[in-house]
Symmetry: C2
Subunit: 255 residues, 2 copies
DNA sequence: AACAGCGGTTCCATACTGTGAAACTTTTGC
DNA sequence: GCAAAAGTTTCACAGTATGGAACCGCTGTT
C-alpha cells in the first residue's frame, strides 16, 4: 500500500533530511540507519547525494547536520517570516478568541526576538515591542523559552522593573519548573504595572520548543478572562501548530 | 560521464531545491522546468515528492518556496551559528591580515544583527557590539546591507551620532550608489569619534547579498592601513565565501 | 458559447537506476 | 596486535524513475 505514486528515492532522502533537521542535534550514520530502518548501503548512498546537494553537512566527527542550503536560507531576512506565515492562522485565531495582542518570538542571540504580532482589537492594548529591548525574565515569552531550554538562562542579576519583577534567582528557577509543569507561563505586572501576558511554547512533533506565543493586554482584562483559562487555551491552540511544523510520513512499513 | 555514482533522482531533486532556496524569491513551476531543463513530468513528480517531505511549499499563487523544514531550521537559535561556522575561516584570515576586529552580520528584523566576531589582536580595539543597538546607517555593515537591498532603507530621519554621521538623505543615497560601485563601504568617525570600519558583502553564487563582513578599529590605524586597500582585501577574501555558500553541480549535461 | 493557449498533471512502455546482501575497507576499542 | 564495529563499494536483479504524449482545467479572445 504505497502512500503516493511516485519517487521513492526522493521520499526516503526527504525522510532522512526530516530526521536530521528536526532532531536539531547532529545525527550519526548508524542512528539514522536504526531510525529509518533502511539498508546501510542505501542510507549511505542517499546521504552522499544529499551532501553533494549541500542539504546535509557532515562535520569533522562524521555526524550529519543540516547543510549549507539550510544556513543560507536561515541567513535571509525572510526566513523567519516563513515561520510567521505558518503560525499566522493560529495567531489570528487566538486574537479573535482573546481580542488581545498576540506575539510570536524565537530565541536568537540570547534573547527572545519578536517576529510577528497581531494587534489587539481593543483601543487600549499592548503596543508593539518589536525591537524594544526588554528583560526577558519579566516576559511570558522569555519565561517560556527559558523554561524549555530554548534560551540559555540569563547570567548575572535579574533586573527589577516593577515591584512584581522576579529578581530572586531561586524563586525564578522555581517559577520555571512551574511553567514546565503547567505548560504555560504568565507575567503579571512584572515588566510594567498594568501589563500582563500569558505565553506557551511552540513545539515540533518531537517535542522540541522552537518558539513561543503570548497573549498580552491590561492586567485587569487578562485577569478577567482568567490566567489559567488563557494558558490552557494557548496550549491547546499551539498544539495544532506542531503538526504543521513537524508532521512527516510515518515510517515502519509492514512490508 | 556521470559526475558520481549514485542517486540521480535525489540529485535532481537537490538541484531543484538549490534553485528554489538560492533564488530567494518564489519560483514558478515553468521557470524551474526552463532553468533545469528536465521534462515537465519529472519536475512535477519531484516537486510533489519534495512537498510531501516539507522541503518545498507551494503558496496560494502556486509558486514554490523553501518548505517548513527550512523554516524550522531557521527558527533554531543555532541556525545562524552554522553560517558563522562557514564564514569563520575567512574571518580568522581577515583578522590575521588586518589584526583588527572582524564582524559578521545578517539582516534581521529591519536591522543588521551581528552574529559573529573575531576580536582585535590589539589591546585597543573595537569592542563587542553584539546586542548593542546602533544606528545602521552609521556603520559599514549597515551601509553594505542597505546598498545591496539586503535591508530595507531606513525610514524617518537619519540619527546623528557625530559630526561625521550621514544625516542628509540625498547624500546618503548617493553614498550607497558609491558603495555598489566600489563593492565595499566605509564608516569613518560616523558612529563614534575615533572608530572606523570597512565592510563588504557576502554573496551567494547567484550574486544575492545575504550578509556582510566588516573590519573595524581606531580610525588612525584603519587609515594607516588604507581604506581602499582594506576594502579591496575584504572583497577579494569574501569572494571565496560565495563558493562555500553557493556552489552546486553544473547542470546542462551534453547527453 | 465555442475555442485556442497556457500551465500543470497523469498515463504508460521502456530501460535505466535504485536496491539490499554480502564482500570489503577503515576505524575504534581493548 | 587482534577483534569488532562502522561505513563504503560491488553486483545482479527488479522495481522505479523517465519523458513523450494525452489529458485536464483555467483564462482570455472573438
Amino acid at each position: 500500500m504505497a502512500t503516493h505514486t511516485g519517487s521513492q528515492a526522493v521520499e526516503r532522502a526527504g525522510a532522512l533530511l526530516g530526521v536530521i533537521v528536526e532532531s536539531g542535534t547532529p545525527r550519526t550514520f548508524s542512528s539514522l540507519v536504526d531510525e529509518l530502518g533502511m539498508a546501510k548501503s542505501t542510507t549511505s548512498r542517499l546521504l552522499h547525494a544529499l551532501e553533494r546537494s549541500r542539504l546535509v553537512h557532515r562535520d569533522r566527527a562524521g555526524a550529519f547536520r543540516p547543510g549549507a542550503l539550510f544556513s543560507l536560507h536561515a541567513a535571509r531576512p525572510s526566513a523567519l517570516h516563513d515561520l510567521s506565515e505558518l503560525a499566522r492562522p493560529t495567531m489570528e485565531h487566538l486574537s479573535e478568541l482573546s481580542r488581545e495582542t498576540v506575539n510570536l518570538a524565537v530565541p536568537r542571540g540570547g534573547t527572545p526576538v519578536q517576529i510577528d504580532q497581531v494587534e489587539s482589537r481593543y483601543l487600549l492594548g499592548a503596543v508593539s515591542w518589536v525591537g524594544v529591548d526588554v528583560p526577558a525574565h519579566c516576559t511570558a515569552l522569555g519565561k517560556v523559552l527559558y523554561a524549555y531550554g530554548a534560551l540559555d538562562l540569563p547570567r548575572g542579576a535579574l533586573e527589577r522593573r516593577t515591584a512584581h519583577s522576579p529578581v530572586d534567582r531561586a524563586q525564578f528557577d522555581h517559577a520555571l519548573i512551574e511553567v514546565r509543569r503547567r505548560g504555560w507561563a504568565a507575567s503579571l505586572d512584572e515588566l510594567e504595572l498594568g501589563l500582563a501576558a500569558v505565553g506557551a511554547p511552540v513545539r515540533t512533533v518531537d517535542g522540541t520548543v522552537v518558539a513561543a506565543v503570548s497573549v498580552s493586554g491590561p492586567t485587569s482584562r487578562v485577569n478577567e478572562y482568567g490566567i489559567t483559562r488563557l494558558g490552557d487555551l494557548l496550549v491547546a491552540e499551539l498544539r495544532g501548530l506542531s503538526a504543521l511544523l513537524g508532521h512527516y510520513p510515518a515510517r515502519r512499513d509492514v512490508s
